[in-house]
Amino acid sequence: MSTVGEEGRVGPPWHAIVHETLKRNQVRLVTYVPDRVLTPLIASVHADAFFTAIPATREEEAAGIVAGAWMGGMRGVVLMQTSGFGTLPNAVASLALPFQIPLLMIVSERGTLGEFNLGQALVCRVMRPVLDALAIESHTLQRLDEVEFVIDRTIKQAFATQAPAALILSPLLTGGKVFTA
């Protein structure tokens, strides 16, 4: 699968760029709670022996695993959807932030640009205010040509400053989840 860039060149899709950028930054541990949009990224990290890919039962659990792994010398990331972020504030505020642990989060954004589930829409309204209240560096990725730069720099900053960071994958980038019924 590939996409056509602005200059008409065929380039790698967003998930391939995320995959390679994680790898280049030695982020080996990928924990996740599944999400439809993240499916190709989850499949590709499972297929690459460089990564240890682990499905967790809850996002908090995934955050705990990544926190412990980093203290043990292994970089990790948590993949989730918007609703999953909604379960995380206590783990972020009482573990990652006070202990200065670079919890890297990649959030597939539900609840906007064509959402069909009101439950998702309201959690989406909550996510950015929570990130801002906790003073967490976050970026919303909308353009394919910015994905590599933003992710690469955010990963580097998170580990250099020992601070959590969130990367939100907009439906403008991924296509989102479409109502098909």
Binding site: T52, A56, A69, G72
Partner: protein, 204 residues
């Protein structure tokens, strides 16, 4: 642990022990820089009181995450034994992690659960284990075959000894009394984390 082995399978068959005493017995058996992740509340305080070790991590909030944090350490450092020290209330909050740990067959990980059937640190409210929830059976049901109640102190020490050498994952549950913790952890998260990372050899 074979099914034929004679072991207490119900918490009711086991002695009610003391958390501070068991924690000291556990720490005394750690000879190879094993990592210990203390959950919140009294398990944490008694770990602190059992003697400061650079390989101890003292969680201050994030109730329920001692086992996930220990799993993360175990994944990052497969040559090191890692122990999560939890209470019944904390473990009940994050039972899903038992299934994750079982799924990964994490060999170098043990969970030690001090079960006093109450949320002691918040005012001694009864937990579900007071009404029949069996932590060791729940762990077995999640797929952790090496899951057992400790019958008494000697049995606890034997189980710990095995968990430090035999492949896990392990869960060792102990019924404990309602005595208060023997100390109180110094709450300096950045320092706790830094010492732990140096204790694990991650920072020099």
């Amino acid at each position: 642990m074979g099914a034929s082995e004679l072991r207490p399978t119900q918490p009711g068959n086991t002695k009610v022990m003391n958390r501070s005493d068991l924690t000291k017995r556990l720490v005394a058996r750690l000879k190879h820089e094993e990592a210990v992740v203390g959950g919140i509340g009294n398990t944490n305080f008694d770990l602190w009181a059992a003697g400061r070790r650079p390989q101890n991590f003292y969680m201050l909030g994030s109730m329920g995450l001692a086992s996930p944090i220990a799993l993360g350490v175990a994944l990052a450092q497969p040559a090191r034994r890692v122990i999560a020290l939890e209470g019944d209330g904390s473990l009940l909050m994050q039972l899903g992690c038992l299934a994750t740990i079982a799924m990964l067959r994490q060999k170098n990980l043990a969970i030690v659960v001090m079960d006093n059937a109450m949320y002691q640190v918040t005012g001694a409210q009864a937990s579900a284990t007071a009404f029949g929830a069996d932590i060791a059976a729940i762990a077995r049901g999640a797929g952790i075959a090496k899951s057992s109640w400790a019958a008494d102190e000697a049995d606890f020490e034997q189980l710990v000894e095995r968990a430090l050498v035999e492949d896990g994952p392990w869960l060792i549950a102990a019924r404990i009394d309602d005595k208060p913790a023997a100390g109180q952890t110094e709450r300096d998260p950045a320092q706790i984390r830094d010492r732990f990372m140096r204790g694990l050899g991650v920072k020099k």
